[in-house]
């Protein structure tokens, strides 16, 4: 069994993990807000969307593959980073929200690596945080993929 210490004072939580948790939490909140506001903008400026919402759901419910969905409703190849050129489109803003949330591990792990390396002198933890960051970057950029 784990050691149940007699002390009743709450132990101090390391700053590094608090900073890491706060970055993830607040970026997720921002991501959620964008994912809520984006669809509203899609509806207000219906013609400004990259993917036409009127034909989108029928295509998805019909079981079309992602490339067929994109071809039908956007007349282009699938592109997860389409938001870069469509920052004001409703679905572009929604995608920014999704992308920010899905990339939150990168800044959080980088800051954790920095704090572990320079503040806590935890070199092993810093290297592992950098490893996870590197995996996110490789995955995000699509550098390695099966063909």
């Amino acid at each position: 069994m784990a050691n149940v210490a007699e002390q009743t004072l709450k132990p101090k939580v390391p700053t590094t993990q608090i900073v890491f948790g706060d970055i993830v939490y607040w970026v997720t909140v921002i991501s959620c807000i964008l994912a809520v506001v984006g669809p509203l903008i899609s509806f207000i400026f219906m013609d400004g969307n990259v993917m036409n919402p009127h034909y989108l759901f029928d295509s998805i419910w019909d079981g079309d593959k992602p490339e067929v969905v994109w071809d039908k409703v956007a007349a282009q190849e699938p592109n997860g980073h389409f938001w870069i050129h469509n920052l004001t489109a409703g679905d572009g803003i929604t995608q920014i929200g999704i992308v920010i949330g899905c990339a939150v591990g990168m800044p959080a792990m980088l800051v954790a690596a920095f704090l572990y390396w320079f503040k806590d002198k935890g070199r092993a933890q810093a290297l592992m945080a950098m490893w996870v960051t590197a995996l996110i970057i490789v995955s995000l950029l699509g550098i390695l993929k099966t063909e």
Partner: protein
């Protein structure tokens, strides 16, 4: 005590109660309630706005009306919200409910379902990261060890999903459904049997490799009113197991909280509560890696994914704050019922798509549903044989 003293004591108690209530009201203006209120208000404004715009919008020929799209989005959000709350009460990830149900009961392409499944699985974990890390129940050093393996596995699993989708041809969707039915059925069995978990595992010897990471982080256990100082063992074993868990999560797109907790608990000797707290964080971080192949390939459709994301964040946060003390027993039985019925539907759907069997008559499916739900009700009321009541 004189009547004057009693009156004075009563006044003091009333004053304390008033201060307590006033404090509760003030807490609604602090984190996390404040951001939760902002997000809920935005959801209401967004859906009201979309409904207003839709009322006057024209529908192009052959297209879906704007009002129908709003109804779909609202349905997705509410479903995601409910899934997040059930997941919090049952102590599992939302992806375990979402992905099998979507694959069993809809025609949506499996890559799109699995991509969305990862979003559902990871966002409830991401939103819980802040509170768990701040409270000390989460342990970032432990998360890093697990993510080192889990991330690699999740990335490989996602790549494997696309490779399999390309190579398996027309039967690919059916094979995925059959494989998933086996996984869901086994998880259902695992939930019935309860698995072997230890609340406070005994760690007698810590190997040199594990010790070098300085993982233990004492935390204050409210139920005991004391500080728990635990030890962790076998870091390399944990890394390897987590790689396998990540591989499955990335491939099937359904998260793997149900596997992460026992892996940390049994392999590394992490106390159950700490393992559960770290599980969501690991899922959130690891799926940050596994989800990108799906995003790049266009399998995440923003308008389809957004309500699921918002439902998970708001439902996950609200569920964790309000429902953490609700008894999980009945919800757990319902979940087991859902899993077995979903596994049945996945098997029949997969076999039917492979032309091994014909279309299953509605009466048979209805009978199976009634059977499963009957067992769930019996178990919930404690009338089922002892296996389900363990």
């Amino acid at each position: 005590m004189t009547s004057g003293e009693r009156e004075l004591a009563g006044t003091v108690v009333v004053g304390q109660e008033k201060r307590r209530r006033a404090f509760q009201w003030r807490s609604l203006l602090r984190s996390p309630w404040l951001e939760l209120e902002v997000m809920v208000a935005l959801v209401i404004i967004a859906f009201a706005g979309m409904a207003l715009v839709s009322a006057s919008a024209e529908t192009p020929e052959g297209g879906m009306s704007a009002m129908t799209i709003v109804a779909w989005l609202l349905g997705f959000f509410l479903l995601s919200f409910v899934i997040a709350i059930i997941a919090v009460i049952a102590g599992i990830g939302g992806g375990l409910i979402y992905t099998p149900i979507m694959l069993a009961f809809t025609d949506v392409n499996s890559l799109i379902v699995r991509a969305q499944g990862l979003i559902v699985a990871m966002f409830s974990g991401l939103i819980s990261t802040g509170p768990f890390m701040r409270s000390g129940l989460g342990n970032l050093r432990l998360v890093l060890i697990a993510c080192t393996g889990y991330g690699l596995g999740a990335f490989s699993g996602a790549q494997l999903a696309f490779f399999a989708a390309d190579k398996m041809g027309e039967n690919g969707e059916a094979i995925i459904r059959l494989m998933l039915s086996a996984v869901v059925g086994l998880v259902g069995l695992y939930l019935i049997l309860g698995g072997k978990k230890l609340e406070w595992p005994e760690v007698k010897k810590v190997d040199k490799f594990t010790r070098s990471f300085n993982i233990p982080l004492p935390y204050y256990e409210h139920s005991l009113g004391k500080v728990i100082d635990y030890q962790v063992k076998c870091a390399w074993g944990g890394m390897l197991v987590m790689m396998g868990v990540g591989l499955m999560s990335g491939f099937f797109g359904m998260g793997a909280g149900w596997a992460t907790v026992p892996a940390l608990n049994l392999v590394m000797g992490v106390p159950l509560k700490v393992a559960a707290a770290c599980s969501g964080v690991i899922l959130g971080m690891g799926d940050c890696i596994g989800v990108w192949p799906y995003i790049i390939s266009g399998a995440i459709i923003p308008l389809f994914a957004a309500p699921w994301l918002a439902g998970q964040v708001i439902g996950g946060l609200l569920g964790a704050k309000l429902l953490v003390n609700i008894k999980s027993g009945p919800v757990r039985y319902i979940l087991i019922g859902i899993m077995f019925f979903t596994a049945y539907s996945l098997v029949t759907r997969g076999l039917s798509d492979l032309d091994v069997i014909g279309d299953v008559p509605f009466a048979v499916t209805g009978a199976v549903f009634m059977l499963v739900m009957g067992a769930v009700l019996l178990a919930a009321f404690g009338k089922f044989p002892k296996l389900l009541r363990r």
